[in-house]
């Protein structure tokens, strides 16, 4: 049975840029599960199936509704145990959490300060006011001020990725010889950026770029084929 997933969309319905949704689209492909996505906008809180927390992803699998990317990944692992594992066991799951916490506290918090104005530019018209207001409040500055010195912040941003860089220099994927959920979590952040911004967050020749290329190739180019910039 096809799973339905509510997926954040921009002004163009096919431009999907939520890092959390990308985690789950990659995880569904990893499990070999068919999915039909429903484009959803920030302000369409009442269009989500219940229960939800007003955010995506939300999936509907038969009569089950599951929300929150971490809960969805756990649900998929538990309910489809015969499909390829997302974690590789209990230790793998626990250590994936560390990679996820790094992604959320280091990678995503820096990336948003590089591309937040580009996100605004790609938002559906009905979302733009909401997006600007909520993000300006969270970031404590206008979107224009947040990104104004982004070129100057690039070297520090790139240096902050050393742990990831060293890892994918020495093994093909964060999860080892094959990709798994930790890779999808980290990749979701980069796919988010490239879906809505032509700003080159990585220097050319960065080993992280080579790993991102391997991720873009997965599942017959699932992410590579999605509307995004070339970076």
């Amino acid at each position: 049975m096809t799973i339905t997933m509510y997926d954040l969309a921009g002004a163009e319905a096919e431009r999907r840029f939520s890092p959390f949704c990308w985690r789950i689209k990659m995880a569904l492909a990893h499990k070999g599960l068919a999915v039909e996505t429903v484009p959803w906008r920030f302000t369409e809180k009442d269009k989500l199936p219940k229960p939800n927390a007003g955010r995506v992803p939300v999936i509907v699998d038969g009569d089950r509704v599951v929300h929150d990317s971490t809960a969805i990944a756990d649900y998929l692992e538990e309910h489809y145990p015969d499909r390829p594992s997302l974690f590789g066991g209990a230790s793998g799951r626990a250590l994936t959490r560390f990679a996820q916490n790094w992604t959320e506290t280091v990678l995503q918090t820096s990336l948003i300060r590089l591309v937040v104005l580009d996100i605004h530019r790609h938002c559906a018209p009905q979302d733009q006011d909401y997006f600007r207001r909520s993000r300006e409040e969270r970031l404590g500055a206008t979107l224009e001020d947040v990104v104004r010195d982004r070129e100057a912040r690039l070297p520090a941003f790139r240096a902050s990725l050393d742990a990831l860089r060293r890892t994918v220099e020495r093994q093909d994927f964060v999860s080892g010889t094959a990709p798994a959920y930790a890779d999808y979590v980290v990749f979701g952040a980069f796919q988010w950026a490239r879906a809505i911004s032509d700003f080159n967050v990585l220097a050319s020749g960065d080993p992280i770029g080579a790993w991102r290329g391997r991720m873009l190739d997965l599942f017959d180019g699932l992410a590579r084929g999605a509307p995004a910039y070339g970076n």
Copy 2:
């Protein structure tokens, strides 16, 4: 048969402070393997069994000599497969590398800038010139200058630990419900600091401090019983 391990010692032979050696002492205890440590000083390059890279840990297990903490952990996992696993499988091992790379590029590189003068103070007299010269060259400043503003750098240092903090807030250990090598790698850095410095690198009430307490309790208080400051 008892394994012999060359272990970095200070002016007091029992003060053992190498973060890399602590990883392996914890890993040996995890595997339930008996170890006899040999105190070793930075300048005793010619006292190490061959092959070596002029650094510790080096272990001697029967007729095998293994050096480099990562190689030793892999050796122990491979040669003692019936003992508790250090990684929990291939994914766990790969993801442990990410935690290790984070420890080496974020945690240890910041910690040394907080406690390097305290290390010098605890070095054996014959090591002090070597230590000062090599570290001042690496850090690009006198040891005194490196630590001069350490109080001012504490908030940024503590903030840089958010990924670890969030992880051990939500699960007992980095590796999940039980400790494994990823925990020993991260812990090695904190044990290094507390072995040679009374500087409180963590704020009181930090969840990382609670996790460190759980680590200090392991293996009948192996690390808690070693010469160190109370922090």
